[in-house]
Amino acid sequence: MRVLLDLVTIIAVAAGALFIMAGTVGLLRFPDSLSRLHALTKADNLGLGLIVLGLLPQSQSLSAMLKLVAIWLLAQLAGATVTQLVARAIRRDGQPV
């Protein structure tokens, strides 16, 4: 059982790290602000989400698990809001090339 849980952790955390890497590659490669914003959200949503998922089996208690999920949900809310605010700022002032 222990081994199985550890395996879940390793797979999910590695996948999360991969998505964070994908986000970074997007930031480095994409030509304009809006597409960079798009790349950034991948790291937020899936990267952090998968890492949280991977850490859940390592939690000692139910409350620790709930706290991890709460962190992910809060990060989602923040990510959604920030993306909107930044995208609006970009659109309002024209796309810098």
Binding site: L74, L77, A80, T81, Q84, L85, R88, A89, R92
Partner: protein, 315 residues
């Protein structure tokens, strides 16, 4: 253990890199964003050197009120930026400053590399008080019992800073309300966030305060979180900033230091001196002081960001 070393090395390089960016970046806004990022990284450093209480404070203050204060200031000062930046100091002054900075840094580095042996510590002295206080978090115990005088004076400093900010208002605005950044973007997602987040933030603030008795957390961190939530509501325009002439507001501002001082003075009469707690009531008294302190800290930090009053007093 190797992974931890790699992490530390990467973190140190990143902290220094972002600090260099903050000091050398061209536009002021870029430097401010660098500084916000720098604060976030410092929180990671504090976790690595076993000071999670400080990490929490850095996270709460650095990514909350400090970020808001600096970003709005950079936006407001933008029109003046180029002219001020033109006054570059001459090469002689730059060289002298660089030499001085290197000298100071080298001296401090020498202190780090060749420290006093054995390392001086007050941990045993602080630990001796922990049992009597029934407070599990040593940092909270130091802040509110062992070195409580520092904490009391620090509250007074916060109040003085707020009075300094208020005193910058023109005479006709005295007693009026600060304005939080008119002219910016409003509505939509900002309103949604300002409705959704504060209830959650208040719960988390109370949690951080409560857990502070036994684990990292406490009045400062909680106060900074609550201040950020209050500011969010005011920035979104859901609630106006309060008029600084209101006596109720002023009562909240001074309540923290006043209750702390009252408990401290009571120490003369009951146990054995200023700022000492009677042993059987130590924990409830500390928690009561912390609750009031949290409210005062939240109000003071929020008003410090809001700035001096910019409208005439109603009535």
């Amino acid at each position: 253990m190797i992974a931890a070393h790699v992490f530390d090395a990467a973190l140190a390089v990143l902290v220094l890199g972002v600090a260099i960016w903050t000091v050398t970046a061209g536009p002021a806004f870029a430097a401010v964003i660098g500084f916000v990022a720098y604060g976030l990284l410092l929180a990671l450093v504090w976790v690595r050197i076993a000071a999670v209480d400080v990490a929490l404070t850095e996270a709460a203050v650095g990514s909350g009120v400090t970020g808001a204060l600096l970003i709005s200031a950079a936006a407001r000062l933008r029109p003046t930026e180029q002219r001020a930046a033109a006054e570059q100091p001459g090469p002689a002054l730059r060289f002298a400053a660089a030499a001085l900075a290197v000298l100071v840094a080298a001296g401090l580095a020498a202190l780090v590399l060749f420290p006093a042996e054995p390392a001086p510590t007050l941990a045993p002295a602080a630990a001796a008080h922990l049992q009597a206080l029934d407070v599990g978090n040593p940092v909270t115990a130091v802040l509110l019992a062992y070195r409580s005088l520092d904490t009391l004076l620090e509250k007074v400093v916060l109040l003085l800073a707020l009075m300094g900010v208020w005193s910058l208002a023109p005479d006709r605005f005295w007693g009026g309300a600060p304005k939080l950044w008119p002219g910016g973007q409003r509505g939509g997602e900002l309103t949604l966030l300002a409705r959704l987040l504060p209830p959650i933030g208040i719960v988390i603030g109370v949690y951080i305060l409560w857990v502070g008795a036994v684990a990292p957390g406490g009045a400062f961190q909680s106060g900074a979180i609550l201040a950020a939530m209050w500011l969010l509501v005011m920035i979104a325009g859901l609630q106006k900033a309060p008029e600084i002439g209101q006596w109720r507001l002023r009562l909240i501002l001074v309540a923290g230091p006043a209750v702390f001082l009252a408990v401290g003075l009571a120490g003369f009469a009951l146990p054995n001196g200023f700022l000492s707690y009677p042993e059987e009531y130590a924990k409830p008294l500390i928690i009561a002081v912390e609750v009031v302190l949290t409210l005062s800290i939240a109000a003071i930090l929020g008003l410090l960001v809001a700035g001096p009053p910019e409208s005439e007093r109603q009535r």
